[in-house]
């Protein structure tokens, strides 16, 4: 029982930043209307720099190969999303950084590389953290984040199970505990049935 209490506590302390991030970002995402003004009053993308790519990219290269080459040339390796915009004849790369995401547009016809950034918005940062997943990417940091998210899932289930065991040991709280546990379950079940 002592070990159970210790794991319950230490896991809680270690994962406290994630619990707070998920809780606060959920409120922000649940009230996007409140942050809409903040979002629209700022321009979406602002030009940061413009340069000419001096290297050579094979015409046979895939979109991912081109994107990773441009990112490496800019010193911006990391998670990204890239697509070819046929109308503009440009490769558009979304460099998915948590704090400062970038949009990089490469036009092969003249070698122009335009880097754009967004003004910092707390609600958008929170949402990016909430939605971040990592196992599909090649970066170590993304894998670690994804691993912690998985650990968070396991620990959440552990908190529930250990919490129930610890509660059951405390005879004096059993009756009121039942009221809260059943109350929560009844409200949840109601919503699951009607929504």
């Amino acid at each position: 029982m002592k070990l159970l209490r210790r794991i319950h506590l230490y896991a809680g302390l270690f994962l406290a930043p994630w619990v707070l991030m998920y809780a606060i970002s959920t409120i922000a995402m649940n009230h996007r209307e409140l942050f809409r003004e903040e979002a629209t009053s700022n321009p979406q993308w602002q030009k940061r720099s413009e340069s000419r790519f001096s290297g050579v990219l094979s015409t046979d290269a895939s979109i991912d190969q081109r994107a990773t080459t441009i990112l490496a040339w800019l010193g911006q390796d990391g998670a990204y999303n890239a697509r070819w915009q046929a109308q503009r004849g440009a490769l558009v790369i979304q460099r998915q950084r948590l704090i400062d995401p970038l949009r990089i547009t490469y036009t092969p016809s003249d070698g122009r590389v335009v880097v754009e950034g967004q003004p910092t918005r707390t609600s958008a940062l929170l949402e990016r953290m909430h939605r971040r997943r990592g196992f599909d990417r090649d970066q170590v940091a993304d894998d670690i984040w994804a691993f912690i998210v998985d650990a968070f899932i396991v620990v959440m289930i552990f908190w529930v199970i250990s919490g129930f065991i610890l509660w059951w040991q405390m005879k004096v709280t059993r009756r009121i505990g039942f009221v809260f546990a059943l109350g929560g379950l009844a409200i949840f079940a109601f919503f699951a049935a009607v929504l």
């Binding site: 230490y10 997943r133 984040w145 994804a146 959440m156 709280t173 949840f188 919503f191 929504l195």
Partner: protein, 200 residues
């Protein structure tokens, strides 16, 4: 002492009341985190994701302004005989999709503008989609008290989690024999979090 006693009870009862939400968010985070695995698993079944239910003639001008799209979506929902939560999206210049979603069932109505018809399709039930759909369910964007109540419940659960962390801290601090080791765990958590946010 009285405050500490109250705090312990708050931590316990809050945890018990929040249990269903914690289990939902934990279980639904698995398909979010391992979406490709679940998609591959489902693809192996070789079944369509959408099953056509009906086709209806329909002709109504689509508003150019995206702010008016929700009202248009409500009209399409009514025409398709659907009621409940929905979202309307401009799929392409020639198509508007209206998604009707409940916890257990999802339906999409495609308005094919050129063909002047509505195509109603039901989603094949998938546990992973049910869980992720429930996870992302908001409520305040819908025009019904039931969905707004769910939105309020989500807010309360989030506030409950913050209170849960705060009450946990308040229980830990007086435990002198666990202060140092707890501080290591807390520092390691904060350092990992800050480092990863900075790196990602």
């Amino acid at each position: 002492m009285v405050i500490q006693h109250f705090n312990r009870r708050l931590h316990l009862y809050l945890g018990l009341a929040l249990t269903p939400w914690m289990l939902l968010y934990a279980a639904s985070s698995i398909p979010f985190s391992h979406g490709r695995f679940f998609d591959d698993l489902d693809k192996a079944k070789g079944q369509p994701n959408w099953i056509r239910r009906a086709e209806l003639p329909y002709d109504f001008p689509v508003p150019q302004d995206d702010a008016q799209l929700r009202a248009f979506g409500a009209r399409v929902m009514h025409a398709a005989g659907l009621d409940g939560a929905f979202g309307a999206y401009r799929q392409s210049p020639s198509q508007v999709n209206v998604y009707h979603h409940s916890v257990w069932k999802s339906t999409q109505v495609k308005y094919l503008i050129g063909e002047k018809k509505l195509v109603v399709e039901d989603a094949r039930f998938r546990w992973d989609h049910m869980l992720t759909g429930f996870h992302t369910k908001g409520g305040f964007e819908q025009e019904s008290w039931l969905h707004e109540s769910w939105g309020l419940a989500v807010d309360l659960v989030s506030l409950g989690l913050i209170l849960w962390v705060a009450s946990g801290f308040y229980m830990w601090i007086p435990m002198r024999n666990l202060r140092r080791s707890g501080l290591y765990a807390l520092t390691a958590g904060i350092a990992s979090f800050v480092l990863l946010v900075w790196l990602l």
